[in-house]
């Protein structure tokens, strides 16, 4: 018995992937399945569809979802508007670029809760009233690096000879940018959008801290459900979240395939 087992057990490259597969199963697949199961269970662990009914008939739930989507879209656009020029100039500048990139990444090494609390203190000291404005600021501040990084990687990966060729053919700066660099960095823009949009519609700590709980977003709502022992409805809401994630990554993937430019980061 032991002999046959050892014979079958071969040290191939595949063996090294087992820990990762196990990890994925335990910490990604199992929780997802649990969410799926909980969505169909009531408090006495009987099958029910009432969780879906509770969610889709509640004014505040849908209201909160819409609110979160608005906040997500606006945050993403602001991030893109700030992030693209930043990434563009970062990849153009030669020596200073690396330091600047580091400066952008540096805040990411600090825990985001601490960062957000610090932001709150600054607003308090400046006598700024906490509300939608401060929440949006916090979101942009926290997720900007996620926009800049993929853009930076893609833009700096564009072969210089393309721009040189455009120049040779008589294109000015504007035309070069719009005809060459922008189309070639679409994949970066798309992955940046996904990286920012999805987390912003699901965060809860930032909105809670930077508005004293007055701005109530989808993530806050899910958190409330779980802390109040309403696992069923909370799971349904997580599923809704998951649908958004899947849909957006599906769209992004399609675009990327059409463009035929591999994503270099994420």
């Amino acid at each position: 018995m032991a002999k046959s087992l050892t014979k079958k057990f071969k040290m191939t490259k595949r063996v090294f992937s087992y820990p990762y597969i196990l990890f994925m199963l335990l910490f990604v697949v199992v929780p997802l399945v649990m969410i799926l199961v909980y969505a169909f269970l009531d408090n006495d662990h009987q099958f029910t569809l009432s969780n879906f009914q509770t969610f889709f008939t509640s004014r505040s739930s849908l209201y909160v979802l819409g609110n979160s989507l608005f906040v997500g879209v606006i945050t993403t656009v602001i991030c893109l508007l700030i992030g693209y020029p930043a990434a563009y100039f970062l990849s153009k500048s030669k020596s200073g670029g690396k330091v600047m990139v580091l400066l952008f990444i540096l805040p990411m090494w600090v825990n985001f809760l601490i960062r957000t609390l610090a932001t709150k203190e600054i607003f308090m000291a400046m006598n700024v009233e906490l509300g939608m404005g401060t929440v949006l600021f916090g979101m942009v501040y926290n997720y900007l690096p996620f926009m800049i990084l993929p853009l930076h990687t893609v833009i700096s990966g564009i072969d210089k000879s393309y721009t040189e060729a455009a120049r040779d053919l008589g294109a000015d700066d504007m035309t070069t940018f719009f005809k060459v660099i922008l189309p070639m960095s679409v994949s970066g823009i798309l992955s940046g959008i996904t990286m920012v949009f999805i987390p912003t519609i699901s965060t809860f700590a930032i909105s809670q801290l930077l508005s004293n709980g007055k701005i109530f977003l989808f993530g806050d709502s899910i958190e409330l459900k779980f802390s109040q022992d309403m696992y069923g409805v909370g799971s349904v809401m997580s599923l809704v979240m998951l649908v958004f994630v899947l849909v957006s990554s599906f769209i992004m993937n399609r675009y990327n395939k059409n463009k035929n430019v591999g994503r270099t980061l994420w």
């Binding site: 509770t54 709980g213 802390s227 109040q228 696992y231």
Partner: protein, 514 residues
């Protein structure tokens, strides 16, 4: 083959490791080490360097049983968080929890608790590992050290709970630890006492249109407390739905009829316009830093914050605590209590009992009370004087009942002196100063359920209450700015897309050469 054997050996060793570790639980002197897992509120026990009650209990445990004890201490911030954990069996190893009134009821209903009365009968007088006999001096009964008034108030509400197969009393399951009221913590520089008296609970809605406190009000991010405040506000301002005006406070704060919830939703939504936000943990700090001026607070947090708010220049405290009163001058609202319970699944029940007994000792209760600011559930008589088992005050030899001959509880008085709540007897003309126990904020005087109500579990209706709470928190105002911004962005994106598509179509394409 060999490789496999080694592998198997290592695996088996790894599996056995925890077993060895478990066998090895002895301290430096070779005594066994017991464990106690405590699940308590945040900031709810004396953890200071000098007088930590956890350290004191460790020493006491060692002295009594001969064994060392390792306390695993974890905390929760709302009853609901704790309930979600315990009811979903995520807290199987916990030996002691300190929930509030209605949460204890819910735990009892779900058969999660062990009867402390039974446990006392089982362990009091039992033999300890070192041969001594265990004496639970402060825990002959669960309510031994509790004030009779207070004990009766608990009995009145919770003595006959139908837990499915039988009727049980909460008295068998809980040892009261702390108690208090819900009230308004305010900044004296911006809110006057006249205003408080005139507007009462309406202060939280800025009924007085005081410009200073507009948007400088915090309320609790906890459905039960905020609902209570809303109900009291409606009662005071005659906003209660028809048919509910004559109900007592006790009935009102536990009422979950849909009309009441709808009415509460309306006033809580209106409240959003006047408040700075919702909190459960940073309210006292924001009050002390004068970021906000009014906070819906539990009495203990409030008293703690007041102590901290001492202003040396003016020799005064800039914070105050007020429980709104009715026309007869009686405090109104919610009176609550938290107490120790032992989960059924606990595997260290003796240590848990000893912990409760230790904390129930007036000499320890006073340290916890001073440190966290809350009112200990141990009766004032026991705190101040030496008492017998039944709570009767003991007198100096040859006296009974005459003023000034009570035997003072010197341990408690010493703790008060150490914390500067009282002067040492020598410095106070030979008198004892017990003004700590006379503060009305700390010790609410009337336990009358028509004015002060105890919270009961909402049961099946808690989801409806949460829904109401969520609706109120979301508010009704449509964020038009956001909507227009989003519409504009999407519109812009569409225009760009269309232009691009049109351009692509019209572009001259290089002809393919076949």
């Amino acid at each position: 083959m060999k490789k496999f054997k080694y592998l198997a050996l290592i695996l088996v060793l790894c599996l056995l490791l925890p077993v060895f570790a478990a066998c090895n639980k002895t301290d430096d002197e070779g005594n066994a080490v017991d464990t106690l897992v405590v699940y308590n509120w945040e900031d709810y026990i004396d953890e200071s360097q000098e007088t930590s009650r956890l350290e004191a209990f460790k020493a006491y445990y060692k002295e009594t049983t001969g064994n060392s004890i390792n306390i695993v201490y974890s905390t929760f911030d709302t009853n609901e968080t704790m309930l979600a954990k315990v009811l979903n069996n995520d807290a199987q190893s916990v030996d002691l929890i300190c929930p509030s009134d209605y949460a204890v009821q819910k735990l009892m209903m779900n058969h999660k608790l062990a009867s402390i009365t039974d446990l006392i009968a089982e362990y009091n007088g039992s033999t300890l590992p070192n041969g001594q006999v265990l004496a639970l001096d402060n825990l002959n009964t669960t309510f031994q050290n509790t004030d009779a008034d207070f004990a009766n108030a608990i009995r009145a509400e919770f003595s006959s709970l139908n837990t499915g197969d039988k009727v049980e009393s909460m008295e068998d399951y809980i040892v009261p630890y702390m108690m208090g009221t819900l009230g308004i913590l305010y900044n004296k520089n911006y809110v006057s006492e006249e205003e408080l008296e005139e507007y009462g609970w309406g202060i939280l809605w800025n009924e007085g249109n005081n410009e200073d406190i507009e948007n400088k009000i915090l309320v609790k991010d906890s459905v039960r407390d905020t609902y209570c405040a809303a109900v009291m506000y409606m009662k005071q301002y005659d906003l209660l739905p028809e048919g509910y005006e004559s109900k007592s406070v006790q009935e009102l704060i536990n009422c979950t009829d849909q009309v009441m919830l709808d009415a509460a939703e309306e006033v809580l939504t209106a409240q959003r316009e006047h408040i700075s936000g919702y909190e459960v943990d940073f309210g006292k700090d924001d009050m002390l830093n004068e970021i906000v001026y009014v906070d819906l607070a539990w009495s203990g947090d409030a008293l703690w914050a007041i102590e901290e708010s001492y202003n040396e220049d003016e020799d005064d405290y800039y914070l105050g605590y007020y429980v709104p009163q009715d026309e007869l001058g009686r405090q109104t609202g919610n009176i609550w209590f938290d107490g120790w319970v032992i989960p059924e699944t606990s595997s260290h029940k003796r240590a848990a009992l000893m912990f409760i007994d230790f904390m129930n000792n007036p000499a320890n209760a006073i340290y916890n009370s001073i440190y966290i600011g809350y009112t200990s559930a141990v009766s004032r008589d026991r705190m101040m004087y030496e008492c017998d088992v039944d709570g009767n005050i003991l007198y100096e030899d040859g006296h009974d009942g005459e003023d000034g001959y009570e035997l003072i509880n010197e341990d408690v008085y010493e703790a008060l002196v150490d914390s500067e709540y009282a002067l040492a007897v020598e410095d106070n003309d030979g008198d004892y100063d017990f003004s700590y126990f006379e503060d009305e904020g700390r010790y609410p005087t009337i336990l009358d359920t028509t004015q002060l109500g105890v919270m009961r579990d909402f049961g099946d209706r808690s989801e409806a209450a949460i829904k109401m709470w969520e609706n109120a928190k979301t508010g009704k105002d449509v964020p038009w700015v956001l909507i227009w911004c989003t519409v504009a962005i999407i519109g812009f994106a569409l225009v760009v897309l269309i232009i691009w598509v049109v351009k692509e179509k019209n572009r001259l394409r290089p002809r393919k050469i076949n």
